[in-house]
């Protein structure tokens, strides 16, 4: 199974995602420079965290015009699993892969800390190995993670079960105090209508080994591997 990690100028979690896939999970992984136009037959695509193009205008506003984004959109449209982490999530919002937008954190501070998120749905390629309601301890590092969507869009996301992660207490309670940035409905991550595109602000790739403070993020990558091997065997049966 091959993970493609897209590298934008200013990406800084690309190596963490590569390390998680290749060295923790033992899968194939490769970097794909944003100027490239092909994902080279990858099975999973990761848009990593960082500060693409410096984020000077808006987070992710320039990265969405990168040549590789055509291939990423085609891959997503064909049902391929795409994970956007932090800046990768922001790029997904800017390019329309996912709905909504990011505002400055409500307290206008950059938050770099461990938080808890509750897994709301297990029917995405990145959460199949989670338990419903499972609480993950993951780090966040962002200044613009205050998720916003217009009321009709937010209602649709909730009605379609597309909120995948919510900020919560360690016990899994969704409270205002546990919401680090003011996100609407404590939203930490959402998915596309087809559920194959998942974006979240916390960093699962930075939490794949207990040596770095938490191994809770690995389940997202393990889920992708499991989902794809299952799909692969289904396709083999169909043939």
């Amino acid at each position: 199974m091959t993970f493609a990690v897209v590298v934008f100028p200013g990406s800084n979690c690309d190596h963490d995602a590569y390390y998680a896939a290749k060295h923790v999970l033992g899968q194939e992984a490769r970097f794909v420079w944003h100027k490239e136009t092909s994902l080279g037959g990858a099975d999973v695509v990761v848009l990593p965290g960082g500060f693409s193009h410096g984020d000077y205008l808006r987070t992710g506003a320039i990265a969405r015009f990168s040549p590789i984004m055509h291939a990423v959109k085609e891959f997503a449209a064909a049902g391929g699993p795409v994970l956007g982490v932090c800046n990768g999530f922001q790029i997904m919002l800017e390019c329309g892969l996912l709905p909504g937008a990011m505002l400055r954190n409500r307290d206008v501070k950059f938050h770099c800390e461990f938080v808890h998120v509750r897994v709301e749905r297990t029917d995405t390629p990145f959460t199949t190995l989670c338990a419903q309601g499972q609480v993950l301890r993951l780090p966040i590092a962002h200044g613009e993670g205050n998720y916003y969507a217009p009321p009709d869009v937010a209602a649709t996301l909730e009605a379609q079960g597309r909120v995948i992660f919510r900020y919560s207490t360690a016990a899994g309670e969704v409270t205002d105090a546990a919401n680090p940035n003011g996100s609407l409905n404590s939203i930490a991550g959402i998915c596309s209508e087809r559920r194959n595109v998942v974006g979240l602000m916390p960093h699962p790739e930075r939490a794949c080994e207990t040596a770095v403070g938490s191994g809770d993020g690995l389940v997202l990558f393990e889920s992708a591997v499991k989902t794809l091997s299952r799909q692969g065997s289904l396709q083999a049966v169909a043939r």
């Binding site: 205008l57 506003a61 937008a101 505002l103 400055r104 206008v108 916003y148 217009p150």
Partner: protein
């Protein structure tokens, strides 16, 4: 020809920076400042011959790049050859 683009959060969208600033102003004793909304201001030099072309180009750039239509709207002022200004209101879903 110069165009000025003002990008602001839509009225329905909470502005954390503006909120922080108005609180700071209150703490400085400016209790009569009711609200502050912070936005962005771009001054753009355009190599086009007519104000119509300038307005079209500035609007395209603002809509496609400078503003995020999900949360922001924009307003364009043209300043052809000096001080005279015209105003263009724009923004998808504005």
């Amino acid at each position: 020809m110069k165009a000025r683009v003002f990008v602001t959060l839509k009225p329905s969208v909470f502005d954390p920076q503006g909120h922080t600033i108005v609180e700071a102003l209150h703490s400085l004793g400016y209790g009569d400042v009711a609200d502050v909304r912070q936005g962005k201001f771009f001054e753009i030099d355009l190599r086009v011959p007519t104000s119509a072309a300038a307005e079209k180009l500035a609007a395209e750039v603002a809509d496609r790049v400078l503003a995020n239509p999900v949360i922001e709207s924009f307003r364009i002022e043209l300043a052809p050859n000096g001080s005279q200004t015209t105003t263009h209101q724009g923004g998808r879903n504005a």
